[in-house]
Amino acid sequence: MTRDLSFKLALGLLVVFVLVALFGPYLLEHDPLRGSLRARLDPPAWAEGGSAEHLLGTDRLGRDVLARIVQGARISLAVCLVVIAIAGSIGTALGTFSGYVGGWVDRVLMRLVDLALSLPVILLALLFAAVVGPSFLNIVIVISMVLWSQYARMSRGETLRVKNEDYVDLARTSGLGHVAIIFRHVLPNIAPSLIVVATLQVGVVIVLEASLSFLGVGVPPPNPSWGGMVAEGRSYIVTAWWVSALPGIAIVLVVMAVNVVGDALTDRINPGLRGRGA
């Protein structure tokens, strides 16, 4: 029962996140990029000295923290969607191909995936990002480079499972081409497992993007990425805790919700994956 409740709560939170990312920026009066010098480091409304003007306070440049968090949600969501699209299609294409073809191609590709999974990828990402410089496009490429291998592994395993099912044999004997078989019979059947991977990865992407932005190689300022906001607030944490704390709480809430939903989906769709979330 608590399971069901937490699932609903988490799903609700995710819906709010998506809605805020889509429509939030149009509803707020403050510009996330424009500050006011008279309102620098104003505390949130409930704290001493706070006002309803800036519900979550302002940052060093007097920019409204709420407006920046809302704008940051949009950036997080955008990074997630693009990364999952890129990493998902590359990984799935390679994994499905590998599993479907089999033989030495499969062995080589899977060794590659093992390698990709065993390298200190965050460092590589950092390195790459530092070399090519911070931009939305670069961060999306970097994170996709890190995450494609999980789709490859999953789709390969699932393809192997589906490949020998009767309906695929039937399709083959009835003269359907390989590409058609993959698109019509294999992909639809492995899709649920891939959705589970994608869900579980949303949290990873958000944290990775935030970490890179925190380290200064992610979404470039003045765009309000949640990780970047935490970094900006770090140096005056003593006097203005909210600048760092609040965007972090936004990250925690969204990632927590994603994890709860991901776990529930795992249980329902592919229980074999349980406990492999690490």
Binding site: T2, R111, D114, L115, S118, L119, P120, V121, I122, L123, L124, L126, L127, F128, A130, V131, V132, G203, V207, A210, S211, F214, L215, G216, G227, V230, A231, R234, I237, V238, W241, S244, A245, P247, G248, I251, V252, V255, M256, N259, V260, R274, G275, G277, A278
Partner: protein
Amino acid sequence: MLKHLAGRLAEALVALVLMSLVIFLLSRVIGDPVALLLSDSATEADRQLLIQQLGLDRPMWQQYFTFLGNALQGDFGQSVTAGREDALELVLSRLPASLSLAGVALAFTLVLGILLGVLAAITRGTLADLAVRMLALLGQSAPSFWLGIMLIYVFAVHLGWLPTSGFGGPAYYVLPALTLGLFTLAAITRLVRASMLEALSSEYVKLARIKGLSEWSVVLRHALGNSLIPVVTFMGTFFATMITGAVVVETVFAWPGIGRLAYESIMARDFPVIQTVVLVITAFFILANLIVDLLYLAIDPRMRAAG
């Protein structure tokens, strides 16, 4: 089994070589080392001289093998920063700080994670279980850079119990180790809880109960051993998480380890140091995975027989 280990070792070497190639290419192709090394006032003649000195006029593959050959002899070049220190020495001097932090974090994480996981499993469905699961969820969801800052704010700035950052006695370890370990703690807790629940409903635990063993013997002697097998399997991943986590955590806590060195050298485009750090970290990754393989042998008799 020996064959298996040999295979893993070969794989490890391939991984190292591949990593070195990636780093080499990144540093030579994308980051123009000449531009990095030259001051703004350098002339074209200076430039040509440097290119010749560095051997950059030779074909790429030759350059790579020179790099590889030097690396094998322990020569990773010198830092391009003012100090011009030997890259390998620099990295090795930062290693103890990182290893001790990761060791402390891994130790507390393992002990606490197993305890909490077992507790949650044997009190399944109670408030204690719920509390542990919430903690695990939080630990898996909080990004470490934020968590570190918040811990500093609460325990160092507000309460004044612990130092804010820097390297020193045991007190200095508490917050960084906590920050570095929380994600892994959450992962171990979840893993142990799940595998403990599975073990507790297994037939061999039923047989242990049929023998009339106490609940403690059942949990400690029969269920625990089996539920630790997955933890061992994931040890390599955990260690990896800690090493990469070190980049962020050491930066937040001004910890003089290789994580922070990696970050600083990347920001300064100090490619000789970057190459060394990344290769050393990769080597540790691989070493950790080999140790896990051996541990696995020790804990699971079924593995000893298997090829």
